[in-house]
């Protein structure tokens, strides 16, 4: 492998020119998405069908089943996704579509609109990235690489301009690089939104022989898969950012901490580190500049708390992953009590973009206080869900209604939950709020790492709070008493409320506990844990009151508090609900109104879900 090692910046530049030249006449590539959702929807069979078709027709065409090499084309809810370069994208592709695609699109460059996206309102179909709202309202600064680059091929990355920022950074003194990042206004994408430039600067300012640069890839929020997709899909961008960061702060050792539940990310990142080292982009004397920097991959054991910076550092040291008091910051005393810069995967990925294009270019996207874009995993009740990237400052409504295509089943948009389990719920009435670090915190939620869960009118906000508090109680490391003992108490009170045992004073008691956690907990996870409760009390207090006073769940979710009834006027007697009822407690003649036997009904809600006439009412 050593013979591939590039000895100087000049050698690197000529190597790039050489591979770019050799790729000019490349045959077309069919990208079959192999992200987990697409795989689940059968993308492997689709890729296989393409391969067979190409072989039988003797075509010079390369099929890449992206799951072998990468994650995600983004549009998870409409998978399997098949795309051709930058223009054409087909959704929900099945193996039997393959011959037609080969004949029309591959051989004759025709677009098959029927395989494109059908707009739920206009019913129009489009098969171009530009014509699909899910894609056209996004800005792919970070995700572009995921859709184009083969993550297992370092040459593919270099051919598309990869590692160019190193050349630029090495031509600057470290302080200039720090100033550039500070000017760009880049803020940490891991949740806190701390200015990256300021963090780097304070780390460099500490008098120490050894400094560390770390990457936080311990994405633990339920439903969040941004960092995983980036590590799986464009690992070299993360590494490139870390090298620039190391040069800027004067670190020679780095660690990428990746949770072990992401085996593919671990594998891909490991290979990327090996390849970069073999080429002389990592290791001793990088590109002949005399600068040394290496990266080790550390696998996390799956504790949610290890995403917290000080717990993560203890975990890398091989100790129990527990947070410590951060009265002395990690930039002074971090890993092994030495100055450390920790940024998350997405933050590092932004760094090469800034170095290559400049701070002013970067500031053109996003808002004054939060420049750039943000990658979100859009989940929940929206029509379109998946991995999305929008400029900071995009409103919640734009994200939900344009990119997300509105709410499924024509229901009403009620709220979004942002920021993972310790984020908060923002009601529809505030949906015109721009998504950036400061607006979300002001509204009682937070950016977090970028999970967005869309909720419709059939979502009970007390139940939502209970879900997140239960998650946090389960994941509390147990080191400090407010978090360890407070969260189970909150869970108990919320359970009582949702099961009809709520009493006057419960809301106030919850608020008291929230204050104890906010001020009293040791780490950021504990002190932000009240957010789901506080934000739902703030915006949906009447729902809590309905549960407590009237023993009623307005959204019809809390089983102990609801009754399912069939509206005789609306029921057409289609019998669908009776067939689906697991208790067989719905009776009625065909074409006549049906009735639910309340004595055996378990309130599972299947009847309501299957009814096409909205005849099942929840009271």
């Amino acid at each position: 492998m050593d013979n591939r090692k590039l000895q100087s910046v000049k050698e690197f530049e000529s190597y790039r020119t050489k591979i770019a030249e050799s790729r000019k006449d490349e045959y077309p590539v069919i990208y079959v998405c192999g992200g987990t959702p697409c795989l689940a929807k059968g993308s492997r069979a689709v890729a296989h069908a393409f391969k067979k078709e190409i072989e039988s027709q003797g075509l010079a065409c390369k099929v890449e089943l992206r799951h072998k090499v990468t994650g995600c084309q983004g549009f998870c809810s409409k998978g399997p996704v098949v795309s051709f370069g930058n223009d054409i994208v087909y959704l929900e592709v099945k193996p039997n579509h393959v011959p037609e695609i080969m004949e029309k699109t591959v051989k004759n460059a025709q677009v098959i609109d029927s395989l494109g996206y059908k707009d739920p309102q206009t019913k129009k179909r489009s098969a171009s990235f530009e014509g699909i709202p899910f894609y056209s309202h996004q800005k792919g600064m970070i995700l572009k690489g995921l859709r184009e680059i083969d993550p297992l091929e370092i040459d593919d990355y270099i051919a598309r301009g990869g590692y160019a920022s190193l050349v630029r950074a090495f031509a600057m003194v470290p302080e200039e690089v720090i100033d550039l990042i500070a000017e760009s206004g880049l803020r940490g994408r891991g949740g806190g939104g701390f200015p990256a430039g300021a963090k780097w600067k304070s780390c460099r300012a500490v008098d120490s022989e050894v400094r560390y640069v770390l990457c936080n890839g311990d994405e633990g929020d339920p439903g969040a898969f941004m960092d995983r997709s980036i590590m799986e899909g464009n690992p070299h961008a993360v590494i490139e950012g870390m090298i620039v960061g190391a040069w800027a702060v004067g670190a020679h050792h780095g660690y990428a901490y990746i949770r072990d539940e992401y085996p593919l990310a671990v594998k891909v990142m490991k290979k990327a580190v090996e390849d970069a080292t073999a080429m002389g982009l990592l290791g001793r004397n990088i590109l002949g500049t005399g600068f040394d920097f290496d990266i080790k991959i550390t696998r996390g054991g799956g504790a949610f708390v290890c995403g917290e910076s000080s717990a993560l550092m203890r975990s890398i040291e091989g100790k129990v992953g527990e947070p410590r008091a951060k009265y002395i910051r990690s930039v002074e005393k971090g890993l092994y009590d030495l100055p450390t810069v920790l940024n998350n995967v997405e933050t590092w990925t932004n760094v090469p973009l800034i170095v290559n294009n400049g701070a002013q270019w970067y500031r053109k996207t996003g808002t004054q206080g939060s420049p750039g874009t943000k990658v979100f995993s859009l989940a929940g009740k929206a029509v379109n869900t998946g991995l999305v990237e929008v400029p900071m400052g995009t409103t919640i409504r734009e994200l939900v209604e344009k990119v997300g295509g509105g709410i499924r089943g024509g229901r009403k948009f009620k709220a979004v939950q942002t920021g993972g389990p310790s984020g908060g719920c923002i009601p529809e009435s505030l949906a015109d709020l721009p998504i950036d670090f400061d607006s979300l915190s002001k509204a009682g939620s937070m950016m977090g790492s970028g999970g967005i869960i869309v909720m419709d009118e059939a979502t009970c906000m007390v139940d939502v709070a209970k879900y997140f508090i239960s998650f946090l109680a389960e994941e509390s490391c147990g080191k400090c008493s407010p978090c360890r003992d407070g969260l189970p108490r909150m869970k108990q009170i919320l359970t009582d409320i949702t099961e009809g045992r709520g009493k006057e004073g419960d809301i106030e008691l919850l608020e008291e506990l929230c204050e104890v956690l906010s001020y009293g907990a040791l780490c950021g996870l504990g002190s932000s844990a009240p957010n789901p409760v506080l934000s739902t009390i703030k915006y949906f207090r009447e729902e809590y009151e309905a549960h407590i006073r009237d023993k009623r769940c307005p959204a019809g979710v809390c089983r102990e508090l609801v009754t399912f009834r069939i509206d005789a006027d609306a029921c057409t007697g289609c019998t669908l609900c009776a067939k689906q009822c697991p208790q067989a407690c719905i009776t009625g003649e065909r074409k006549k109104a049906h009735v639910i036997d309340q004595s055996t009904c378990i309130k599972c809600g299947v009847c309501r879900d299957v009814c096409k006439f909205d005849a099942v009412r929840v009271e």
């Binding site: 708390v305 509390s476 147990g478 008493s481 108990q492 104890v516 001020y519």
Partner: protein
Amino acid sequence: MEKITIKINGKDIEALKDQSVLEVARENGIAIPALCSHPEIETQAGSCRVCLVEVSQNGRSRVVTSCNYPVRGGIEVRTDTDLVRRIRKGVVELLLSRTPDAPVIQKLARENGIEGSRFFVDEAEHYRNRCIACSLCTQVCEEVVGVSAISMLDRGRDKAPGTPYLKPSQACIGCGACAYACPTEAISMIDEGEVRKIWGREFKMLTCSVCGKPYIPEAQVEWIVKTTGKDRSFFDKCPDHR
């Protein structure tokens, strides 16, 4: 050590940079309740959260644990603000609901005006008895004794000190430092004649050649001899008769 001046409850106080707020307060006769801090431990875990105070600096104020907050020149500490009292009271109430039988917690509760926990007490939780999972025992075992026979196991509400896999530990020397350090007297150590029972093991005790009283586990003597090179005969007599 650099000398600095800080304010505690409005009074100017001299301190050394990097001392903890709790240490400075105690040196000056200002009481701050605390459970899990211990002078022999290098890094205070700050897990019981009882020693909270409000610190302001440059016009910004925040609630911190006094046991591990390093003092800096110009900081102002308040041990008795409404906020501190509310949060401390909340913490103590949570501890009380966890360990209703621990006398030290009951006393703290009385001092903070708590008449009884408003939270549901789960009977099954009582297996933990009086432990508040502050980890002081495990820190003492590691840092002071140096054997690391016990560590904190599990997480969340199940977090508790114990030997690996809850099996009798060969590393334990039966010294009982964990039990002496425990702020809530939660660790069971029973001395019966020439036998000490702790952490699921029985230790044979050495008797004093003068008074005949069993006073130290033999395993502890071996450990001290091994680590300090002290002569074994030194342990023939108990501290009272040396």
